[in-house]
């Protein structure tokens, strides 16, 4: 009979606790219930809760279930959702990508990159100017402009016998043209790296 009452007291206590703990996150609730159950089992195994009176004392010492849950709520700390979240650098990464590899898409790729560059608050005006001016149109620009820098000439013989040559484009010595082409190709990537590291640095502030 005593055993029945004792079991009843314990199971009532645990039921109340479980109900009160509904406000806790599921894993915390399970953990708390397990620990309190373990405590009660240990008390009973130690003979500290053999009859109704000692069980009542043991449960009194444990405290009101609501009080335990209140302590668990306090000890949880702020919910992760309420922590201030640091805005990511997604916009900045997109901007830099479009300004470099995105310039493969004629005009639009680089232009959208430039708009993103100027709309970011992570960069100073100097950074933005650097990103825009090195190199307008992006690294793909020399690829599009390359053909213009080659001279093509057509020769014809005039009726008087003189050879006339007509040329389009402008001539650029390969000794200057090739390094210039490579520089125009590489410079935007170097600037991109600088911009990214500045964006990261300013996101940590």
């Amino acid at each position: 009979m005593t055993r029945g009452i004792v079991d009843q007291l314990v199971s009532d206590y645990l039921t109340t606790l479980d109900r009160a703990a509904a406000t806790l996150p599921a894993h915390r609730r399970t953990e708390l219930l397990d620990e309190i159950r373990e405590h009660i089992d240990a008390a009973r195994a130690a003979g500290a809760a053999a009859d109704e009176a000692t069980v009542r004392t043991m449960l009194d010492r444990l405290g009101e279930p609501e009080e335990i849950v209140a302590a668990a709520t306090d000890d949880q700390g702020p919910a992760p959702a309420t922590l201030p979240s640091r805005p990511g650098t997604g916009l900045e990464i997109a901007a830099v990508l479009l300004l470099t590899v995105g310039s493969i898409i004629p005009l639009i790729g680089w232009a959208v990159g430039a708009i993103l560059l100027w709309s970011s608050r992570r960069w100073t005006t100097r950074d933005k100017l650097l990103g825009t001016l090195v190199i307008p149109g992006g690294p793909a620009m020399p690829i599009w402009l390359g053909p213009l820098a080659t001279q093509s000439c057509t020769g014809s013989t005039s009726p008087s016998g003189a050879v006339e040559e007509q040329c389009t484009g402008f001539a650029l010595s390969p000794w200057i043209g090739v390094p210039l082409f490579l520089a125009a190709l590489i410079a935007p990537f170097i600037v991109a790296a600088i911009l990214l590291s500045r964006a990261r640095a300013s996101s940590r502030r």
């Binding site: 915390r28 953990e31 708390l32 620990e35 309190i36 373990e38 405590h39 089992d41 240990a42 008390a43 195994a45 130690a46 010492r61 444990l62 405290g63 009101e64 279930p65 009080e67 335990i68 209140a70 302590a71 668990a72 306090d74 000890d75 949880q76 700390g77």
Partner: protein
């Protein structure tokens, strides 16, 4: 439970100090959860409800100041034992110094104190 409940500044203070009392008890030996809670509960004026120590232990574990391990028991299911970690020891050492200064400061200011 004193008036004002968990929001009572004195109960907040007690709870803040309690975690270092837990660390202090664990400084010498690993303890079974039940024994740890009972030892704290047996000190008059320390804990108003023993059950509230378990959430505290779970927080200390998340903070990495305490670790738990399951030990097989001869009677009944395996038992959760609590042990202090290296960073828990460090936190305890810092607290002990700060607490002594704080305690002396309060004693000095309260009536009957020795300025």
């Amino acid at each position: 439970m004193e008036p004002g409940g968990a929001r009572n500044p004195l109960s907040q203070l007690r709870r803040g100090v309690l975690e270092y009392c837990v660390l202090s008890l664990l400084a010498d030996e690993e303890l079974y959860g039940f024994d740890l809670v009972r030892r704290l509960g047996d000190v008059d004026g320390m804990v108003t409800s023993e059950g509230t120590i378990y959430p505290l232990l779970s927080r200390l574990r998340r903070e990495g100041w305490v670790s738990t391990n399951w030990v097989e028991s001869e009677v009944g299911p395996p038992r959760r034992y609590y042990a202090i970690t290296v960073s828990g020891r460090r936190a305890l050492t810092v607290f002990i110094d700060e607490w002594r200064r704080f305690r002396d400061a309060v004693d000095q200011l309260l009536p009957g104190g020795t300025p």
